[in-house]
């Protein structure tokens, strides 16, 4: 059933079916999410700037998720010798980079009125910036070597080594005393965020990940076509 995740032709067939409904659902969730964000209550301390959170948090989650997916696919591609993993690595690295950049920019736009500076040398911020640099190195390595076989495997090794950064980002707010607030949604016992703010956040997260999935599908299809042409 899940063979479309590792088989290019199955993937093409499957995505041909779901792409058009996906466009529809994405635009619907995005519109609904934006409306919910518009009517969501203002924070009593932060005022209007709390609405930056609805862009900042989904892109931060997705930047981490994209890297985790890349790590899993590098392990699959490198250990089980399935080349589809390398296709996905090459296709979704720029998406992760864009999400990370979006997270950094929206965060600093929120930080200027709230903290008073665009940038603080804080553990969470610094580790996300390093994640962005890692994404850039992955993209650069993808353009570097002549032989494709060598290139994609070296990129996979680099991605696996670079995944050390993921737990550091996740736990940076717990390990160090940082200015960045600790996790408030993913606390298992009781999320310390009000339901009226949680609803638009979740809808926006779904919309963002749908956009990411659509771009990823298109990029992966293009990559498969490119490789078929070269073979």
């Amino acid at each position: 059933m899940f063979k479309f995740l590792i088989n290019p032709s199955r993937f093409n067939k499957f995505t041909d079916i779901i792409l058009k409904p996906l466009f529809f659902i994405t635009s619907l969730t995005l519109v609904v999410g934006l409306i919910l964000v518009y009517f969501s209550p203002l924070d009593y301390q932060q005022g209007l700037t709390v609405k930056i959170m609805y862009v900042h948090v989904p892109s931060a989650w997705l930047s981490l998720l994209t890297y985790a997916i890349m790590t899993i696919y590098s392990i699959i591609g490198f250990v089980f010798k399935i080349p589809f993993g390398f296709i996905i690595n090459k296709a979704i690295a720029p998406i992760g980079a864009v999400f990370t950049l979006l997270c950094l920019i929206s965060g600093s736009m929120w930080g200027k009125p709230m903290w008073g500076t665009w940038w603080v040398w804080d553990a969470r911020l610094t580790s996300v910036a390093i994640l962005f640099i890692i994404y850039l190195v992955v993209i650069f390595l993808n353009q570097t070597f002549e032989s494709r076989d060598l290139r994609e495997k070296i990129v996979a090794i680099f991605i696996i080594i670079g995944s050390i950064n993921l737990p550091i980002i996740k736990y940076s707010v717990d390990w160090w005393n940082t200015l960045h607030q600790p996790a408030s949604v993913s606390k298992l016992s009781s999320p310390s965020i009000d339901l009226s703010m949680l609803q638009p956040l979740l809808v926006m997260t779904i919309a963002f990940s749908m956009i990411g999935i659509i771009i990823a599908i298109l990029r992966i299809k293009a990559e498969i076509l490119l490789r078929k042409k070269h073979l």
């Binding site: 890692i134 680099f158 080594i161």
Partner: protein
Amino acid sequence: MILFKKLILFFKRESKLFYSNIVDLFSNILFFFLSVFVFVFALGTDEYLLKTIGVGVIWSLLLLSSTLNLRKFYESDFENGILTIIHMGGFSLELIVILKIFSHFIFVQIPFLISLPIAGLFFNLPMHDVYILFLTFIIGSLILSCLGSISASMNLLNRTNYSIGSIIVLLFSIPLIIFSVGINNVDNSFNSLINMLFGICLIFLGISPWASAACIKLAIRNK
């Protein structure tokens, strides 16, 4: 017993290679001192300022100057086929990588230690700071050798983009520089931070052999 003999031969060869181009190492150290001078000229010669930022500056310049000739880590051995010959002689690639890391640590990074007290003199560092700098550099240079092995083996067949190797080393050396400079700045945390440094060192000693060996294997296959 044969393995032991082979190991001695390996290190003999490494030391011969090292002494044949020792000028390279000296010019590396010279680069380090020149960059210290440039830094001091750029900041001005305020004694108190130099004393406060001295350790951080020395560490970052050491990092930068140790990334200068990282391409030589495997390149000459790879180009003339010595790596393949050693591999055929019964050494696995992982073992070769570990031996290479230790020989780089002994022959390239340890001589760098003589430059540390002199650099500390230029920054008016107290004796205690220089002592701690010594200790952290001994551990940190082993980490730097591991990182250098990873980046050098990744870029064996890279003919176009030369600076990406240095980028990889600098990227993964960020935790190293945080903890090694933090020892001097934070009071009463010597033990915990030096344990963290040891931990990072062990992590990279564990990672780098298989990563470098996989890269070298790919490079040999695609040569």
